[in-house]
Amino acid sequence: MEALIDSVQVDLAETEVRDLNSALHSPGSKAWRVANPLGKHSIACGLDAPLTVDIDGHVGYYCAGMNQHASVTVHGNAGVGVAENMMSGTVRVHGNASQSAGATGHGGLLVIEGDASARCGISMKGIDIVVGGSIGHMSAFMGQAGRLVVCGDAGDALGDSLYEARIYVRGTVTSLGADCVEKPLRPEHLAELADLLAAAGFDHDPAEFRRYGSARQLYHFRVDNAY
């Protein structure tokens, strides 16, 4: 019940998401608490200020999409594309997240305390994602930059067509995607993993993880370029 007194309360059973977002885009207050999200889409997306937004319940698609600077916490589960294209700030989901969590994110930290579904971190471009549970297939597909940490297991085709994103998995990996390989966990990786786990609030031993990255075999096409 922290900050309950100071925060602005918005009840989505009575207020339109559009009005909530528009208030969050030019906020007079730093702390917000949203009741009855009822699985609605696009809640708290496009934020551009260091706000704290607590959402009490389950959210639909694209919650906290394109977040900048804000700290958004979902006290429930999140639908497709939570924190998609996030630039900075923190998004935390206490429950599970659906597909494409953190898709194309450029920065900031996304923490999913439960499981994430398929395509977690797809096309990630610098975001850090820490998942307390397991993730589904095709995660980190074409991941360009950033770190994906999975405390549970990973599904099929992990890291397919990966560029420079780094992936850490504590449990099993069903299969690796094209051009994704296991790589040695060196001291600098243990250190960054320890930082990420600490930032996310997990106390696993970094040494229990394995690291995966790009074999960089798909970086150059074998084609005729000048015919």
Binding site: C45, G46, D48, R119, H220, V223, A226, Y227
Partner: protein
């Protein structure tokens, strides 16, 4: 030379013409396939196969140059708070910074602004050069999301969700390593020098129901201000346009198979998609059946070269057109002045299509600073503006001849077709007959 061969009684095979023979030889020698820029090069049913029926006894023409024939267009009036109001219905299509130099993008912005129209970013984000010079800038939202960020989204005048391109419907993009310089790599968050792939599917939605939610998100992020376009390559156009409208588009962009590209496999460019002529009537039918023709605007592209093409596209029901290749030619692409250099690259002025190579003598499809310096953005912008004005005046000439006081008043009834194919595709009668072959959909 070819005359000499003909006089010897030699006959070139229509099936195995010289380009085909060369392609087989090249494949046999190298074992790799061909990537190039430009659009389909084969002959296709096109606007040249349509003619206007000028006014005579039963229709009154308007006086050329004197009588009013308006050309403006409003794009995005369905849901957006701030629709675009353009002076002319010829827009500049999305071409990426990366494929094109920053100076070329700036030149496109300058030319478009001078002529009172919009320009469009591309796969790779928004540069300050083009934002600065473009009065109306459409920001593309592509599967790759390279360079996508909310600050630029808010700076844009409209947002174009790209599902596909006419040159490669169903294909992603590519930008070869020689063009991934520090700046391009930085904007796309990629390692310098990689052969870059752009995804062919969006990463966080699948299908039209998801797209509706995605569009609503983009509107939420930008406070419902900006028009949202959906761009598709022409394939199952009737269905795609219906679904785009259902997903909440303000504007639908349909790009035919002639449409240009910066880098795509030759086999893709020539064998996937349908000509724009076949796509426009399908798109218009879809809009009409939903009761939103003119409310959801239709922009068409793919091989638009002159005012006649503009007028014909509009007569078939488009609200505006977009140009890519022609705009590059107006800037100086394929100019004879560079013929010797094109030849040194194994091409020739008028044939050059290796945009993917980054060695463009005209300094347009390159990231090489020395080559790029050959294009003066101000002079290039002026050439583009001139060309846009000529196209507009040509379209007005044809509209006046048909008695229309606004380009939008052109209608299919003003057109006939020269060939059975074009009559069937464009759904206008074969000239001299009342016959519209084919049953439509």
């Amino acid at each position: 030379m070819s005359n000499d061969l003909a006089s010897l009684g030699l006959r070139e095979s229509a099936t195995y013409d010289r380009a085909t023979i060369h392609a087989i030889q090249r494949a046999a020698e190298t074992g790799v396939y061909d990537i190039r820029g430009w659009g389909a090069k084969r002959k296709l049913p096109h606007f040249d196969d349509l003619l206007f029926l000028g006014a005579s006894m039963s229709r009154y023409p308007l006086e050329g140059y004197r009588e009013k024939c308006d050309t403006d267009v409003v794009l995005g009036s369905r849901y957006a708070k701030s629709p675009l109001h353009l002076d002319i219905p010829v827009t500049i299509a999305g071409m990426s910074f990366g494929a094109l130099s920053a100076r070329a993008k700036e030149a496109l912005g300058r030319g478009a602004s001078e002529a009172g129209t919009s320009t469009t970013t591309g796969d790779g984000g928004m540069t300050p050069e083009e934002r600065g010079q473009s009065r109306h800038l459409v920001y593309q939202y592509l599967p790759s999301r390279y360079g996508m960020n909310p600050d630029d989204l808010r700076k844009a005048d409209a947002i174009e969700v790209v599902l596909g391109q006419g040159a490669k419907p169903g294909g992603g993009g590519m930008l070869l390593g020689q063009k991934i310089t520090d700046r391009v790599a930085g904007m796309r968050a990629l390692p310098v020098g990689v052969d870059q792939r752009s995804a062919c599917r969006h990463p966080d939605w699948t299908g039209p129901d998801d797209l509706a939610i995605k569009i609503a998100e983009l509107r939420e992020i930008t406070d419902w201000e900006k028009p949202i376009y959906i761009k598709v390559g022409a394939t199952r156009t009737y269905y795609d346009v219906k679904l785009a409208v259902k997903a909440g588009a303000d504007v639908v962009v349909v790009d035919g198979m002639q449409g240009g590209t910066a880098a795509t496999q030759e086999v893709f460019i020539e064998h996937v998609g349908i000509p724009i002529l076949a796509a426009i009537p399908q798109a218009v039918q879809a809009l009409q059946e939903l009761g939103v023709h003119r409310e959801v605007q239709l922009i068409v592209s793919g091989g638009i070269r002159n005012g006649a093409d503009v007028a014909k596209a509009m007569a078939l029901g488009a609200d505006a057109v977009a140009i890519g290749t022609a705009a590059l030619i107006a800037l100086g692409d394929n100019h004879p002045r560079y013929d010797a250099e094109y030849r040194a690259l194994g091409s020739a002025a008028g044939y050059y299509d290796d945009y993917q190579e980054g060695r463009d003598p005209a300094g347009i499809s390159t990231q090489d600073d020395e080559l790029a310096a050959r294009l003066d953005p101000a002079a290039g912008g002026r050439r583009l503006a001139n060309y846009l004005r000529v196209m507009t005046m040509e379209a007005q000439t044809l509209a006046r001849a048909c008695g229309k006081s606004h380009l939008h008043n052109l209608e299919p009834e003003d057109l006939v077709a020269l060939t059975i194919e074009s009559a069937a595709m464009a759904r206008v009668p074969l000239a001299g007959t009342s016959w519209i072959p084919g049953g439509g959909l």
